[in-house]
Symmetry: C2
Subunit: 342 residues, 2 copies
Amino acid sequence: MAVTIKDVAKKAGVSPSTVSRVLSNHPRISRETTRKVKEIMEEMGYHSNIMARSLVSNKTYTLGMVLPRPAEELFQNQFFAENIRGITTQASRNGFDVLMTAGHSEQDELEAVTRLVKGRRVDGIILLQSRKNDPIIVFLKKEEFPFILIGHYGDDDILCVDNDNIQASFDATMHLISQGHERIGFVSGPPNLTVSQDRLEGYRKALAENGLRMLSEWIVEGEFLQESGYRAMSFFMNLPERPTALVVIDDIVTFGILRGLTELGFKVPQDLSLVSFNNITLAELSSPPLTSIDIGIYQLGYMASQLLIRQIQGDKPQLLRTIVPHRLFVRESSLNLKRNWS
Amino acid sequence: MAVTIKDVAKKAGVSPSTVSRVLSNHPRISRETTRKVKEIMEEMGYHSNIMARSLVSNKTYTLGMVLPRPAEELFQNQFFAENIRGITTQASRNGFDVLMTAGHSEQDELEAVTRLVKGRRVDGIILLQSRKNDPIIVFLKKEEFPFILIGHYGDDDILCVDNDNIQASFDATMHLISQGHERIGFVSGPPNLTVSQDRLEGYRKALAENGLRMLSEWIVEGEFLQESGYRAMSFFMNLPERPTALVVIDDIVTFGILRGLTELGFKVPQDLSLVSFNNITLAELSSPPLTSIDIGIYQLGYMASQLLIRQIQGDKPQLLRTIVPHRLFVRESSLNLKRNWS
DNA sequence: CTGAAAGCGCTTACAG
DNA sequence: CTGAAAGCGCTTACAG
């Protein structure tokens, strides 16, 4: 069996209480005792049993996270790895681990969260996505359990870290307008995600402020998948009056659009200019390189971890909503070369 | 406070022991009692405290995993998300969660694993990478703690799930040979990773079996980064006698090569044919599309989870080393078009 | 089929 | 500065 606090106590000639106090750096233990106990712990290879400690202290030093479902797979492949790295790195720095669980349906996910929360398995939950009327959020609020959302949830007063997606999308659209475009389309993601809604709003705002036409047929909804881009592309290119530029919800979707355009013999940016979001590594490498808005994925994760841990430790957050800044990277896919569309 | 087994017992008019037995589906409990207790658990919103349960049963139903360090970042971004999804999905199906921790140095990583193992925080460990003389593996073997390696570790008798990377690389090289190439180079990864060594070996074997020349200057080592590809490319293209085709350790590295070639005005596959590994989503989308060997990343994770859980549950594995099959996807980057190199 | 009791490895008032 | 004792929420022989 593993070495316990008792074994150490016996060998050191002190009580288990004392060993426990040494472990938690209790102030009223003599230097000499501390030194001796630590030496013996080292010698015996003692490691405190986390389950036991957590049972009595009611703290787990663990953050919980639910893996998004496969539907969002491609989007997540890019987003997710960076995000997780941010979350886990910051958690580790603060002595926290990250527990992942997966659900195959919305119901599964809720059950998984319930198990983690009610089973006192984690001290807080990080949500990677925000849907409309998310039952998980409803549950966590009801339980008053610490959690943080990457994204936001209506105007609700919950702790979250987010981009200003309205502004980001406004910026993306303005960039196209500044390149001389007047017919600009929008390729959106699943309409129940707040990120889709916000970016659509920013796009609309930019068009409105510039007195540009806003046709409903220039807005297409889809998934975070290449196929969605491909489909949107063929829809747009068959319109009698087609847009000359698109704002696209995600780089992956843009890759689908690009592929379709290449197959049909269209050129980017000459026939269609493109701006998208997320600035994944490969945005820069595609041909042409993609103009994309970097949303600071790593930082989103990092901040989420940080703020949640503070909340767990009882700090009152100054702001409920933390904004991670975005930045537009202009590349060839949106540069005003010789245009075919004039 | 949360509802405990005692609360349920009191309300149901039975002893805590009985409630516990209902919880674990003990066979000798009457239907009637079971029904009643379950009803009350439901009614009170009871969820068993995982820490307490795990303290006494000495089982955590958790698999541990150490996040690879940032050095391998880009490689991992692609690999990792798929892999984790495989691991977590299969773990969840079996009632296990996955605990992640991060280390910033080899020393950190070892400490993290020690903490998980000695602190009885997890029932088994999944290692995502195999280095030469990995101290973590040495530690786990010494502790006789259940673990599984994605990859392999020399010829050691440890549980692992792996590709046949020698054969895969042999296949990749043979494909180039079948396209008429005689001067074939190899862009490798970090030399201390077994995956680098195996793929190099497969490449050499194919050249040897076909009596092709094997110049040491046609082999370049690097990281799983675009920059490595870029550098390898400029090295190769400045050789007096340069290869006409390359086998490349990873798609990301190939993207770097592609970018460099494009900048210099070279064409793929005409000036240089390319085959690489991993077949990430974007391999298909690059221009030209990349020929790549799919190594079944999701399946690697899935199998690892499955086999580790079996091991934890005491099943003797039939085979220590499980091979996930690979498959070559031939695309334009290696097709024999009009060649410039003849 | 069910209960009382001991115990998993730790923490923490209470007392000295 | 340190120890004895109670207790965190559960499981599991032992006894009936």
